[in-house]
């Protein structure tokens, strides 16, 4: 996923919804060689589709794919 390609609107909404639903207000994310980001900052990065936002989207997507493909359960059972 590159910065010049716009995210699908539904995908962005899904990631923002998951962010809102699963991340407590007191959590900060350390990722990607940058400062740690609050929930509100993460939302802003996803909205802007900048490198931090896209990294977070990719992480969410990889996790969803692992859940839906059965890979997540398979790896945990190993």
């Amino acid at each position: 996923m590159t910065c010049d390609k716009k995210l699908d609107r539904e995908l962005k909404e899904l990631v923002l919804w998951r962010l809102e639903a699963s991340v407590p207000e007191h959590f900060k994310l350390s990722v990607g060689g940058e400062e740690a980001f609050s929930k509100e900052e993460l939302k802003m990065h996803v909205e802007q589709e900048d490198p931090i936002g896209l990294t977070f989207v990719n992480m969410q997507l990889d996790f969803i794919k692992a859940l839906t493909s059965g890979k997540f359960s398979k790896v945990l059972a190993e």
């Binding site: 900060k28 990722v31 990607g32 060689g33 400062e35 992480m59 945990l76």
Partner: protein, 218 residues
């Protein structure tokens, strides 16, 4: 090569200050075992000192705690810039034939591959190494049970090596502890932050990689 552990520990933002603290637990474990530790922290954490220590002390095991990218691992931040300690194509051969654990983003994607061309083992992450910080404990990382979910399994890479496990065993133990943490969280998945932590632990499991000699022993 001499049996010793070199650790880099910058501390200039939330992420590096947590790594700084948790790497200390590994250093304590090494010292309890009588292992020589070269602990590079500010103001001694410079590229020059790092290179000199590698050349003169010739440590078997190098443990980076830092920001990184596909071709670089950084050291301390002075003024505006982070100093590059290791860079592919410039001084990566300093790591050849050693056992390296890079707790840094992306370093296994490219740098790790070139470092192990002439031998040695590189354990790191081909994706971002990431973790949640509970802001309520950021002044006292030892009490941050959320961050511990991520940093303890990564510490286990080096702690296992210090116990005499080979690199593949150390890698496997780290992966298994992350999986156990996911299973623990799944049992309490309605607790705040549980699913967010599971997602990140999964990404760290998937991104962690071992390159080079999987039978190397410290």
């Amino acid at each position: 090569m001499k049996r010793g552990l070199l650790v880099t520990r910058p501390s200039y933002d939330d992420a590096t200050s947590y790594l700084f603290y948790y790497a200390r637990e590994v250093i304590d474990s090494a010292r309890e075992k009588g292992i020589k530790v070269l602990d590079l922290v500010r103001p001694r954490l410079t590229k020059q000192n790092f290179s000199d220590l590698i050349s003169k002390q010739d440590p078997t095991l190098v443990f980076f705690n830092a920001h990184g990218d596909e071709k670089r691992i950084y050291g301390d931040k002075t003024d505006e810039d982070e100093e590059i300690l290791i860079e592919e194509g410039r001084n990566h051969t300093l790591l050849s034939k050693r056992i390296v654990y890079a707790r840094a983003c992306y370093a296994a994607a490219s740098l790790g591959k070139v470092c192990t061309r002439k031998g040695g083992c590189f354990i790191g992450y081909k994706t971002p190494f990431s973790f949640w910080i509970d802001e309520r404990w950021s002044a006292k990382p030892s009490n941050d049970k959320t961050a511990r979910l991520f940093l303890e399994p990564s510490n286990l890479v080096v702690i296992s090596l210090l116990k005499g496990n080979c690199t593949q065993e150390a890698f496997d133990k780290s992966q298994n502890m992350s999986k156990k943490n996911i299973l623990k969280l799944l049992r309490h998945k309605k607790e705040p932050g549980a699913m967010a932590s599971i997602m990140l632990l999964w990404n760290n499991i998937e991104g962690q990689d071992i390159l080079g000699d999987t039978n190397a022993v410290f």
